[in-house]
């Protein structure tokens, strides 16, 4: 902003005109149907106004008519890259309300799946980030590694993306016999490929220049905008729900919460890449220690939550997902609200992008890692 003003003052006899550009709803780098109205002064952004709602499906309203088992599968369709974690959030909320003791085995399975989901999501994000910045090949490499995780999911859950693997009380099926083997293969494979990610993008001088010092999010802003997830942790805000309020099996694994200081696009990038290492290590710690036992706790055929309000938060790949259930004692919630990470993260865009160039906006949007169905729900 300062820069814009400065330029205006120095070139006062030159008449420039601010103009508006519609970025989206169909645009290669809005990652879905998001519309940004950009005010531009030459290449410099003076205004960003996100217009959302293009794929609003009223999931929250639909939840009011579904029973608690049916709600779970709708959350697959919110942040489709963290499908498993979204499912888990709803299930945990219901379980806590009913005070169901989830079997150990189910908890560990859930944790492993959640971390694999996070890995898959970050891999896809990494590829897309490369593509947004013009390194088209990175995209395919990210997808190659994600494919292995998808195969693991498909073998055990029966679906690749909308898995619906959680049910209140545990998980839907037991692990597939091949699960261990495949996960170990994946860990071995990905440990050799993750350094390649660094070679290809993280250390690349062009990539560094494109991201370092671009879109700096201060700690204060991150907190006041309610930014969560790696985006906030890159600004030094400690907000990892897995660490602060451990759920499932996170209390028994040893992992670091990745915290960065810089808050620029590169820090956000780096935070996610480092998070991939952490997720790998979590999976490694748990894969050999899955306790025997039931994978599902017995539940009543019709689940009815006692009258009251329930809140559960989990850490998805994008940040903190909150599930807020108001129950009137019936078999479907009276009101259900999702606090989706993408929504809060998106609106920090205006803060970050004003004063930078269009190309920076793309980098910033990439590192905020938005998933539009999560914003619109």
């Amino acid at each position: 902003m300062e820069l814009v003003k400065q330029q205006r003052d120095t070139a006062s006899d030159l008449k420039t005109q601010e103009y508006f550009v519609n970025m989206g709803p169909q645009h290669p780098s809005t990652h879905g149907v998001l519309r940004l109205v950009l005010g531009l002064d030459g290449e410099i952004i003076t205004k960003v106004e996100p217009h959302i709602g293009y794929i609003h499906r009223s999931i929250e309203k639909m939840c009011e008519h579904d029973n608690y088992r049916q709600i779970v599968h709708l959350t697959d369709r919110m942040d489709y890259l963290s499908a498993h974690i979204n499912n888990e959030a709803v299930c945990l909320a219901v379980e806590n309300a009913l005070e169901i003791e989830v079997p150990e085995r189910a908890r560990v399975i859930r944790t492993i799946f959640a971390e694999l989901t996070r890995l898959a999501s970050h891999q896809l994000w990494w590829g897309v980030m490369g593509m947004d910045l013009g390194a088209l090949t990175a995209f395919l490499y990210g997808f190659r590694d994600r494919e292995m995780i998808n195969d693991i999911f498909e073998e055990t859950c029966g679906a690749r993306l909308t898995m619906n693997y959680n049910v209140p009380g545990g998980v839907m099926f037991d692990l597939h016999p091949n699960f261990h083997k495949r996960v170990k293969e994946f860990i071995a494979h990905f440990k050799t490929k993750l350094p390649e990610y660094d070679d290809l993008l993280s250390n690349n001088v062009i990539f560094r220049q494109r991201t370092e010092g671009v879109g700096i999010l201060s700690k204060e802003d991150a907190i006041s905008y309610g930014v969560t997830g790696p985006t906030a942790r890159a600004s030094g805000v400690s907000c990892d729900v897995r660490k602060l309020h451990p759920y499932s099996a996170y209390d028994r694994v040893d992992f670091k919460e990745i915290l960065m200081e810089e808050g620029d696009s590169f820090a956000r990038y780096k935070a996610r890449v480092l998070e991939m290492w952490e997720s790998l290590s979590i999976v490694e710690q748990l894969i050999d220690n899955i306790p025997e036992g039931d994978f599902q706790a017995p539940t009543k055929a019709v689940i009815k939550l006692p009258k009251g309000e329930y809140y559960q938060r989990v850490e998805t790949a994008r940040g903190e997902l909150g599930v807020y259930i108001v129950s009137d004692g019936g078999k479907s919630p009276y009101r259900l609200k999702f606090r989706s990470p993408g929504f809060s993260n998106l609106f920090v865009l205006e803060k970050l992008a004003v004063g930078s160039k269009i190309a920076d906006l793309v980098a910033i949007m990439s590192t905020i890692d938005i998933v539009v169905p999560d914003i619109d729900r």
Binding site: P28, S29, L136, T137, L140, N204, F207, A359
Partner: protein, 363 residues
């Protein structure tokens, strides 16, 4: 009738010339020669672009762990032809408030520029359309006309994305023109001539990339970077940065007009590679090692035209490798790269080369 000697085309060319002159008045004979040249150029461009697009897609696919086109014809060989036919049949859309004249003119300017540039390229011994004494300069001048096409196309489409793309491209081409010329100039200090046939002749005893050692290497690297930028290809494809500007300056174009931009891009890629091959790698000169007579004879056995296209293919491969590896630069970084790095390095290199040539420190 016209014996084709793969090692020296001047005989063939001369016999065609005589054959035509014997049958026609001199004026008509010249006209007929022009027609032949024109038709063969168009054919050459069409074929080479079809091949280049196919190769680009296959190369990209292999970089990206894909198979690439494989449905139309064996190994998808006919894919580009099918695409071309599709583009031919597509509707021409001109947006309502576009400047129609300029909008239609822009693709032609692009194509004309690259055709002009092709004129001076020596494809093989005796196979060159015209061999003027400022050949190198001429090619650079002709190919930089293409930027008018980009600017006009971006302006006339009445689309803000294309306008931004066009302005970016204007800044980019103007600055990288400098580098490309300076890096060629360093080599001209070695060769002592701007005439392409002379440049090739000066590499009879070894290519400049070997004879010129370090300075030639620096010039070559700078040439490759600037050449990639000049052809608007990744990582310098800011003018059409598809993740920022959807399709940049040709957002509004469709059908065959779009195909013309495409064609111009690939031909200018070819021109850059051809100039690089000519100046640094001896054009159609075979690879010789000083006194290995037997080896040299084997090398001579490979026709010059194969040498030329082999070198061009190698350089095109490197440029494609760039594109499929690197992220795109931002416009200000692009200009910083040119004015803060390439230009000073180039000037230093030029001084160094002049000194080396003065002292005779090259082979």
């Amino acid at each position: 009738m016209f014996a084709i000697n793969l090692y020296d085309f001047s005989g063939t060319v001369n016999s065609i010339h005589q054959w035509l002159n014997a049958r026609l008045t001199p004026g008509w004979a010249t006209a007929a020669e022009w027609a032949i040249i024109g038709i063969s150029l168009i054919l050459f461009v069409a074929i080479s672009v079809i091949i280049l697009v196919y190769v680009e897609r296959k190369v990209a696919a292999f970089f990206q762990l894909r198979i690439g086109p494989n449905r139309v014809g064996k190994w998808g060989l006919l894919q580009t032809i099918a695409d071309f036919l599709k583009l031919l049949m597509k509707e021409h859309i001109t947006s309502k408030n576009a400047d129609k004249f300029l909008f239609n003119l822009a693709p032609f300017i692009m194509v004309t520029a690259v055709f002009l540039g092709l004129g001076a390229i020596p494809f093989a011994k005796g196979l060159q359309i015209f061999d003027i004494n400022i050949g190198l300069f001429y090619i650079a001048a002709a190919s930089s006309v293409g930027v008018f096409g980009i600017l006009l196309g971006g302006w006339a489409g009445n689309n803000k994305y294309s306008l931004i793309g066009a302005l970016r491209s204007g800044a980019q081409v103007v600055s990288y023109e400098l580098s490309i010329m300076l890096s060629l100039l360093t080599m001209v200090v070695f060769t002592g001539s701007l005439q392409l046939s002379q440049i090739i002749a000066s590499q009879q005893d070894g290519w400049w990339i070997f004879k010129g050692h370090l300075p030639a290497w620096i010039a070559f690297i700078i040439f490759m970077i600037a050449g990639t930028a000049e052809t608007n290809r990744g990582p310098f494809d800011l003018a059409e940065a598809e993740s920022e500007l959807t399709a940049g300056f040709h957002t509004e174009y469709s059908g065959i007009k779009f195909a013309m931009f495409f064609l111009a891009e690939y031909v200018s890629l070819f021109i850059i590679a051809a100039v690089g091959a000519t100046v640094f790698f001896g054009g159609w000169m075979p690879f010789h090692i000083d006194d290995w007579a037997a080896f040299n004879r084997i090398m001579d056995y490979i026709p010059p035209i194969v040498w030329f296209f082999g070198k061009v293919a190698m350089l095109i491969g490197i440029i494609m490798w760039f594109k499929w590896t690197f992220p795109r630069l931002r416009i200000d970084q692009l200009l910083v790269l040119e004015w803060k790095y390439l230009l000073p390095l180039n000037l230093m290199n030029l001084i160094l080369v002049s000194f080396i040539v003065l002292m005779g420190w090259y082979f």
